[in-house]
């Protein structure tokens, strides 16, 4: 079974995409669409927080105190 499926988009949009990608490095509108969709789906995934949890805060504070920084 192929690992790809076909999705239909309006032809004028396809033509417009061909113009937009120009010499940007994307080899085809398909590549561009896959790239944009991957990027979009990535933003919809639950965002991993760069914040420290309460437990982590306690541990970090202790670590920094042990190092003499706090």
């Amino acid at each position: 079974m192929s690992d790809r499926v076909s999705i239909k988009i309006p032809r004028p949009l396809y033509v417009r995409l061909q113009q937009v990608i120009g010499d940007s490095g994307f080899s085809s509108p398909t590549d561009f669409i896959v790239f944009v969709l991957r990027d979009l789906v990535g933003t919809l995934e639950p965002e991993r927080q760069g914040e420290l949890s309460d437990d982590e805060l306690v541990a970090v504070r202790k670590k920094l105190e042990n190092l003499g920084y706090l």
Partner: protein, 391 residues
Amino acid sequence: MIEAHGGRLISRIANESEQERWRAELPNLKRVTMNRRELSDVEMIATGAMSPLEGFMGRRDYEHVCEHGRLANGIPWTIPITLAVTSEIVAAEQIEIGENVALQDSEGTVFAVLEISDIYKVDKDHEAQSVLKTTDAAHPGVAYLQSTGDTYLGGKITMLQRPTQDRFEDFRLDPRETRFLFKEKGWDTIAAFQTRNPIHRAHEYLQKCALELVDALLIHPIMGETKSDDIPPDVRLECYNALLKGYYQADRVAMSILPAAMRYAGPREAIFHAIIRKNYGCTHFIVGRDHAGVGGYYGTYDAHNIFKEFEALEIGITPLFFDHAFYCNTCNNMASQKTCPHGSDQHVFLSGTKIREMLSNGESLPPEFTRPEVSEILQRHYSNETATVSS
């Protein structure tokens, strides 16, 4: 607080439920073995030190980085972060896009999972020329590229277990932790100093010049893979501690180890190092002469000039450029070529070879060049090394 590169500090460390899920899946996953650099990259990506990267680069990012020093979305990024395998392994293991593989070290310990979104063959000579500006196999970065497979696997990673740093564990602070520290201390401006060597007085001078301009200093030595003739990490750490104890204002300086591997990519690595420090929350980055250089592959000020190729706002962290520093016997103080009018015969400067020679012979380094405490630690290291070689 300065924003992480790309706007968001990444975390790819598995939380409890992800641990549970991946651990249950591990027995069914194919395994890919990482080398030491790739393992340290996993840790750097997972902790957010390499934000906005969330995994190893796919072809589009890789090609844009090699050609333009930017990710495919245009964000500045100068060093490819890649996971190499051989095409034979890909074929034999039937590794495919869309599947998840376990990433293990050479001893079979699994550290992360990779969700493969790209598999692509690369031209290593082209990468070496683009990134390292040479294809000379004597360059450690080129030698590394030649030692790894011809196919790269791209995709997001999730770290399940951290590599240990043994004795350095206490000194390892993640970006979230340094950011917390800076906030707690009320430091708004922080200059980072990158090093892979002991700190001599010339480096101390640069750091203190920077410290006159900002609130605090983060000494951020690289403790990942370096060249075999670099001073071992534990010896360097001892030197840093001795120096901090005796010569720095404790309330204005912090030290944390950086688990990154050196690439020796000179100017491109200067940008890379600056971006990483921005992710740790630093606002300024000290760039000395021949930053991250090796041999004679890069011009003395290439690492300064490359910053002109980017808009200041794109990089985000402010570079602080410094000239060659030394002790001048006539000025009777530390100075640089920018500030000292006297000839080189008045400057105390020792080459790496001369330093090794003096230390191996049991001689102290002059106090104008290195603090006595540092000299003593290095002397001890070299005498142990000499004893080991002769026995």
